[in-house]
Symmetry: C2
Subunit: 405 residues, 2 copies
């Protein structure tokens, strides 16, 4: 699994993804959450049904509970008459006894009274005094929700590893489950680095810039099943980085949001080589080349590029799959849009290009300014990927946009 | 906008959507949230840039800050020599003075020192003592991130109504904004009704069932920008329903999860007609016909069918768009999958059919059992919509699946 790459030899995105994937382990810790907080979480337990749903045969229609055998041959010209001996109340165990030739008024959801096996819908009957005139035969089990037809007692309607959707939450509720054991969310340290980086909210002069990357990274972490913890900006000296990394290794994943100087990149590489093993350094993608990934004390440490758009685009391409694997979430399937390029674009041979775009009607308009500009992403609706072997695309070419929302 | 429909005359889904939309108003209340909680929220303010990003011209590459005019005509055979007079440190206001014929060492992100207008990349230079040999001319502004090129001071990079994505959060951070005014989330009352409905966690006998619908509805509300509040189950007497509705009207939207008896449906209709105006009662969709929608004291009150799959499918089709309009969220674009039916299916002419399906490789396998079964949804990957005028679809027919996750 180890594969050390120097910055000179770029790793393909596919290989980078494979290397990250091979070193990421899903979280095994679990915790118990109430139903209200369970949507989107991943089950750490099988759910075995302690009883059937429905618990017993219930009416699936409004009408009369009866025995199918009593309705054989019923027709408009030759109806069958059943004696109405009572009714079933919703939410109560039926007290009415129905013997052959009899029936009981019933509404949807009521338990079938003893002695009945089907429900005759009102529209196939007429009431005449205490007689119900039946114009159509029913079969055994007609208009009945049979015991266990939804969930059978002892079965496992939900399994460890299932992500809880609204419907799966409904399954838990149907079984009376108030809380459930789910995998914990990965805890992710986000460390901004660089002498020029200032914490948002602090006063700055012209030579410093506010920390953008920690916030965009934390947002991606939070939206993909993780719990981000943003560190204070760390000056890019070896000692400071070493100290920050060491305390961050308590987390499940460590993301270092790089400053942008060559010196710092070299230092990160040396530090990560000394502390663990570097999986790759430099990816064949634009923007986002300077990404570095390593394993330190069993933890994946990703060093993201300092340019805000490079950092965020690599967060979508490389970090998100890693996060979702740790959080045991299914692959995210972004909504896509097929449209036509509004103008000719020039790409970079030999690197996969992530180009942000706006969707304007049927047209797809490049939104990319430069990788240092956060508005390259913020003003875009999504992105297109231009393959390594394509250097230009023409106005009118069809492209598939991966939408951000 | 008013249009009362009786249960006999079903409203088309398109008309139902239009009626709901015409009576839903986006929330106007706002609140201030820190950046850490801002992703996915909707701005209630324009964001005007108090300064430019970058604040001043910065190096976009590592190299030498110089004057473009000094490099005119430089080539490998006829290089230009500049005197290296110092360096710029990242995060500091440059103290070095660069006069014509001089340059200063600079790395990406550093402010350009006075007297320079461009950066000469290292790869086009050679260092010879205190001279930098330049083999290529640069143009003014080359390898420079100009002041305001990302965001100009006084401009409005984010506007009221924008949903905050990771990238837009980055824009806020770049401007040093610690917290931001966003629209409040709609508060949604979810009222389970029916004598047979028991609160999850309480003991029950065979005649009662656990409240599924409140939990599935609350999940959909929470995933679509709302704050659900689940009420205790309400017996379906007029008095109890009236009391529950009255206290629920403090919320922005009221959803009543119906019991399933005809009596109850009639009572809901009468109660909602008495209290306000009914927009529609009965929708041309299967499952989910019994949905009722009304406006009471300026609040939309939706009565959802009691069958768990009917309730949840209508939550996706009718409630979700309403919620997202209230929460000012963009239309949800579910991921879709195109596949081929694994077998022939029979639909219902005159009603739009929402059929849950599983995706198995390229095949789309119907997952629907019955509308009373929550597993009709929980065991499905998504759903297909079969139009009103289609009664059968053949094995191998291409269908588009709207995926749940």
């Amino acid at each position: 699994m180890t594969s050390v790459k120097t910055f000179g030899r770029l790793t393909s995105m596919e290989e980078a993804l494979r290397l990250v994937d091979g070193n990421i382990r899903p979280i095994n810790r679990s915790e118990t959450v109430p139903l209200a907080g369970a949507t989107g979480r991943v089950l750490a337990q099988d759910v075995v049904a302690p009883f059937s749903v429905p618990r017993r045969d219930r009416a699936a229609m409004d009408g009369y509970a009866a025995r199918a055998a009593d309705t054989v041959g019923a027709s408009s010209s030759k109806p069958v008459r059943l004696r109405l001996v009572g009714s079933v109340r919703i939410g109560e165990i039926p007290s009415v006894q129905v013997t052959p030739g009899q029936c009981a008024l019933i509404s949807t959801g009521c338990l079938l009274p003893k002695g009945t096996d089907s429900v005759i819908m009102h529209e196939n009957t007429e009431l005449a005094g205490n007689q119900v005139v039946v114009f159509r035969p029913v079969y055994e089990g007609e208009s009945v929700a049979a015991a266990g037809s939804d969930i059978r007692t002892g079965s496992t309607p939900l399994r460890e590893g299932d992500m809880i959707t609204a419907a799966k939450l409904g399954v838990l509720a149907s079984l009376g489950v108030e809380s459930v054991r789910v995998y914990q969310k990965p805890r992710v340290a986000v460390i901004p680095t660089g002498m020029e980086i200032a914490k948002v909210g602090s006063p700055i002069d012209d030579a410093r810039v506010y920390d953008i990357n920690s916030h965009t990274l934390a947002s991606v972490v939070g939206e993909n099943g993780g719990i981000p913890e943003i560190f204070d900006p760390v000056p890019d000296t070896r000692e400071d980085l070493f100290r920050a990394l060491n305390s961050a290794l308590e987390h499940d994943l460590v993301i270092v949001a790089g400053g942008s100087s060559v010196g710092e990149r070299d230092m990160m590489y040396e530090l990560l080589s000394d502390l663990g093993r570097v999986l790759f350094h430099g990816v064949q993608i634009k923007p986002g080349k300077p990404t570095i990934c390593s394993v330190v004390k069993d933890r994946v440490v990703m060093g993201m590029p300092g340019h805000p758009t490079s950092c965020l685009s690599n967060a979508y391409l490389l970090l998100m799959p890693a996060l979702r694997k740790m959080a045991r979430l299914p692959t995210r399937r972004p909504a896509t849009f097929k449209g036509k390029l509004s103008r000719r674009i020039v790409s970079t041979l030999g690197r996969k290009v992530f180009m942000t775009v706006r969707v304007e009607g049927e047209e797809v308009e490049p939104a990319f300014k430069e990788s240092s500009a956060i508005t390259s992403m913020a003003d875009a609706d999504g992105y297109i990927i231009i393959p390594e072997n394509v250097d230009t695309m023409e106005k009118g070419d069809e492209v598939e946009v991966h939408l951000f929302t």
